[in-house]
């Protein structure tokens, strides 16, 4: 499913290359871009499908309004990224680290946040149906007015986590 690999070596800054692709294409498809770094990349209103960004670092990237499907961010690192109004389905962020990231208004049904380490993040007004946070370490994370039906938070370590106006009775905490 992953046909091509993004140019550049392990740890290289691939920000310019992605921006260049977005100049011509609306979506990334069947691409491996693992162990790269991305700073200030604007993914907004673009789509990804069958893309692996595993173990990559994202700093101040903008995913607002993006459409992600079958995209893999396993063990990636995100700092000051905006996922507002993101539309994601079947996306895996397993083992990723999030620092000061916003997911406000995002639709992230059936996504995999197992084993994440999230600090100062906001999932308010988002849809997290059937999304999993098993074994996650959540510090100062807000879930206000979220749809968490079928979501699983089992074995997660939660400190300063706010679940307000969210249907937690339909989730497994």
């Amino acid at each position: 499913m992953f046909e091509t690999t993004l140019e550049g070596g392990r740890g290289s800054d691939a920000s310019a290359r992605i921006q260049e692709i977005f100049h011509h294409e609306q979506r990334l498809y069947r691409l491996v871009a693992e162990r790269r770094s991305f700073t200030g990349v604007d993914f907004s209103d673009h789509a990804t499908m069958w893309v692996s960004f595993a173990s990559s670092a994202f700093t101040s990237c903008n995913f607002v309004g993006s459409h992600l499907e079958n995209t893999f961010f396993d063990f990636a690192r995100f700092e000051d990224c905006d996922f507002g109004d993101l539309n994601a389905f079947n996306v895996s962020f397993a083992g990723a680290r999030f620092n000061r990231c916003s997911f406000i208004g995002a639709t992230m049904d059936q996504c995999n946040f197992n084993g994440i380490d999230a600090k100062s993040c906001d999932f308010s007004d988002s849809s997290l149906r059937r999304t999993r946070f098993i074994n996650a370490r959540l510090t100062d994370v807000r879930y206000v007015n979220c749809d968490v039906s079928g979501a699983i938070f089992s074995f997660s370590h939660r400190e300063g986590v706010v679940f307000k106006q969210s249907n937690v009775e339909d989730a497994r905490l």
Binding site: M1, Q110, G115
Partner: protein
């Protein structure tokens, strides 16, 4: 090859359709129902079903397969001889198959149940209820659970840790994520170390 992931609101599980990029004969994995929306997906992608692939037969699936067999001329693959009234190619050992024109690697998972089979196409595993993100499917006892963990390590991880798992329930994951984050696998490592 194209893989279409579909969450079926009738069965509550995931259904996958795999076929050529430009339409033609496709296979469907674990249909828990065969509602109109699935027919619309098939039509949109210009697919005609040639096969049904079952990871673990369950009651709703039997009805779905019987319905599909009334609409399409299909072959059925799984870990049993029949799915309801429909003959099924019984997969009893690990083998390479060609299903609906696509190469499929089948791996029986007797630790889950005698009828359970995991399928691999390209770098994607379809695991049904046998393995899903952050946990394992139900097993009858601790021995079966340990056997399942070692089967995942021996028979699935050898294809590379970046292989994707598309389960019948819940979100996608990868072999790497499961081996490193799911306590079942880590516990086994700890046991060995002790």
């Amino acid at each position: 090859m194209k893989i279409i992931s579909h969450h079926c609101r009738f069965s509550g599980g995931n259904v996958y359709i795999c076929g050529p990029d430009d339409g033609g004969t496709a296979l469907i994995i674990d249909p828990g129902a065969f509602p109109r929306e699935l027919i619309e997906v098939l039509t949109f992608h210009r697919y005609e079903l040639g096969a049904v692939v079952i990871t673990h037969p369950e009651e709703p699936m039997i009805h779905a397969v019987e319905t599909i067999a009334r609409v399409y001329r299909i072959e059925v693959f799984g870990g049993v001889d029949r799915i309801g009234s429909i003959p099924c190619r019984n997969i009893t050992e690990e083998e390479e198959l060609e299903i609906a024109g696509l190469p499929v690697h089948a791996i029986p998972m007797p630790a889950h149940s005698r009828e359970s089979v995991v399928y691999r196409m390209e770098e994607v595993f379809f695991t049904g209820p046998i393995i899903h993100a952050g946990t394992l499917g139900r097993t009858v006892n601790a021995y079966a659970q340990a056997l399942m963990v070692s089967t995942v390590r021996d028979r699935m991880a050898r294809f590379g840790e970046s292989s994707v798992i598309l389960p019948g329930i819940g979100p996608a994951t990868t072999i790497r994520a499961e081996l490193n984050l799911t306590p079942f696998y880590r516990a086994e490592v700890d046991d060995i170390r002790v």
